[in-house]
Symmetry: C2
């Protein structure tokens, strides 16, 4: 086996909503209130109910030289076409040898919170459904077999969430995005029975709850003077608190087939985390009253929680301790941590010492099983490998384009760029 | 080699201040303002400038049955004597085969912040010095060769900190406690040159900056309904953000011999963290302007940052990736995560597959070198082993004592104890 033989399914990428995503899918009553894009000087903003949102292209820097990764694209003009154009996206996937992809939303926030917190709930529901219909029919639907749909939810109502999950399951959606810690947006905790209708709908329809980093618990900036690389390091592991919280949540006993995914969480810290969890339970279980039955906490994790990684040699080296049946891979296209367009080569460095069976599980079989995703029957396995896909993309240029433009974190100095610089850049872009 | 042959130096334990700690060491002008203990119903409180502090024995639960670990001792009567009595403490160390110990303070907070934030700075300095003098002369001094002193600092003034470090270095102090993120208490960040006088004093006098978990960045409770075990799991790793911040701080270039310690941070997540740091730097270095020179971030970590663990098989198994020269061990006596009185047996399970040289480094040689601690010349190495120390403690009873009392997290129910329960218990105890 070599790098061309890999079959790659990425469980965490990002889409940038194109200009015409919403209007065609809004119901007649709300058609004139669809989000629309407006030019403001050098940038585009989305307008929703009169309010402007500037994050039209959050960190969508794929295709730039690394010197320009810190700049924030504030218009589609500042981005590689594959960020927002589905056909160009598939070309970019092919060029990187990537077969399948789960795409998180941008304008709604990774977990859809921006739409879910709009005050007019009838309008919010229409908007959420419009996004989902666009996402399923136009984004994922344009290239059958290449995407695992990831709808957003009307988070204010678990019953409405359940209804939307059931509606979309009929359209083939087996994943949904959900905040890693809903209490951070004033919703009931994952320990509340309020969410049972949603968990039930997910379990009944084999829908995975995908919790992306930054959707509840956030990677905190240590200080405004801290070099930004320090913060970048900590982003994936910032989901550890939520991972512990889900481990102790009550839905696993009630809905034994339910699954959740720690999207962009990394894997190398998981063996430590699981040993620590088992220590905590064996050391403190006598006073905490938490009953795992015959299980250890690590058993619950390995049964229900899907992990993923971008580039993680240490995690791959310790695959047995991570749990080889629930590890998946992600590309994170078009964000700055992505290994695009060299993902197969990065990945191969982590995987080449594993068995063929382990490599296949991590690169695609685990994701295909857990997300009920079957591209082979549609496309033929022989057409799904890195080698076959790259063959289809020999006309695609992946060399970096300079000067794509956008907001700059800091002008005219060579001192380290800090958390404060980045936060100021984003505040100005909003 | 077997378990009796281990030599154990613990770099993270906790002392509970005895009733008479402060008054004898306060200068004449402040003698009548020394903190004093007052009985209030079933509990004792410390009175400082008329204000009562109820955490007289934070989590000092050693010697209880595990069923009572969740109860908060609110009086010396609720604790095993070794928590606050130095002679009983050494007996308890002997019974556990522990030779040396670094003891963090309780009333001042782990990093001395409670004293440092008192408004009258002249009084605060007197109090800080009184604590330090008591700590060095009466606590550590009572049993020469058994303790590594850990003074607290007048954190509001880096110059005063430097002066205190120099004063105490003459008395043999080679460690100091410092918040892992001083911005959380309104002080300059570790990136500010304001701290240079302190770093210089530490470097000149071989003084290690010890940052205990919870002294700046804190392990957040996911929600008030979250089972408390979930929070316990995440405590050590909660220092990861600060670890990244220190990695990018400017003192290492200015003071190349300087060291800091991630106290109670664990080790099993470190290899992932270091790989992630090197990835972040190689992937983003082109735009972040941070110059590591010829080093990778992981090189800086392994040279300057001391790690420690209580019980961490996975970390020990991956010692080469953690960096075997800067790993140390901790007992965490008398807190609830401690493995007392079976620490040698716990530790042996993690270490038995390592080489003699690796075991000696982790259990004592790294700590002795980094903290300038030389018990062997004073006590004779043959008297410092687990076997020799336990021999001296055959009269010490370590079987748990029931009903020691204290505040209860929750009365009369068998539901899992939550973060909310624990926070309410502590709020009531204050």
């Amino acid at each position: 086996m070599n790098v061309e033989d890999l079959v790659l399914v990425s469980v965490d990428d990002h889409l940038i909503e194109p200009r015409d995503a919403f209007t065609p899918h809004m119901p007649a009553a709300f058609k004139d209130r669809a989000p629309r894009m407006e030019r403001r000087g050098q940038k585009d903003v989305w307008l929703i109910e009169g309010r402007a949102f500037g994050t039209v292209g959050l960190n969508a820097v794929a295709g730039r030289p690394r010197e320009e990764y810190g700049m924030e694209p504030t218009s589609h003009d500042h981005m590689r076409r594959g960020c927002y154009d589905i056909h160009a996206r598939v070309d970019d996937m092919n060029a990187n040898g990537v077969l399948g992809s789960i795409c998180f939303p941008t304008l709604p926030g990774f977990a859809g919170a921006r739409f879910a917190t709009l005050p007019d709930k009838e309008y919010a529901l229409a908007l959420i459904r419009a996004y989902n219909d666009w996402h399923i029919h136009e984004w994922c639907g344009a290239h059958p077999g290449r995407f695992i749909p990831l709808p957003i939810l009307p988070l204010w109502s678990p019953e409405a969430c359940a209804q939307e999950v059931r509606r979309l399951a009929l359209l083939g959606a087996h994943a949904v995005t959900f905040p890693d810690n809903p209490t951070k947006m004033g919703l009931p905790s994952i320990h509340s029975p309020d969410w049972d209708p949603l968990w039930r709908a997910c379990a009944d329809n084999k829908v995975v709850i995908c919790c992306h980093i930054g959707t509840g618990a956030t990677a905190e900036h240590a200080s405004s003077e801290s070099p930004i690389e320090a913060w970048i390091i900590t982003m994936p592991m910032s989901i550890a608190n939520s991972a512990a919280d889900w481990l102790y949540a009550p839905m696993w006993k009630k809905f034994p087939s339910l699954r959740m995914a720690l999207s962009e969480g990394g894997i190398g810290w998981i063996p430590y985390f699981l040993e620590r969890a088992d220590f905590a339970h064996s050391h403190h279980g006598a006073w905490t009253n938490f009953d795992f039955g015959k299980d250890k906490p690590s058993d619950v994790f390995k049964r229900h929680i899907i992990t993923c990684f971008i580039d993680d040699n240490f995690g791959a080296k310790n695959l047995a301790d991570v749990g080889e049946d629930m590890v998946t891979w992600e590309c994170d296209f078009p964000h700055s941590d992505s290994t695009w367009p060299d993902s197969p080569e990065y990945l191969w460095r982590s995987l080449r010492d594993l068995s063929r069976s382990q490599i296949d599980k991590i690169t695609h079989l685990n994701a295909m099983r857990e997300f009920s995703y079957d591209p082979f029957s549609l496309l033929g396995r022989e057409n799904c490998t890195v080698g076959a896909l790259r063959e289809k993309a020999i006309h695609i240029t992946t060399t970096p384009t300079q000067g794509l433009g956008g907001a700059k974190p800091l002008a005219g100095t060579a001192r380290p760029i800090t958390s404060g610089d980045i936060n100021r850049m984003f505040a100005a872009a909003e």
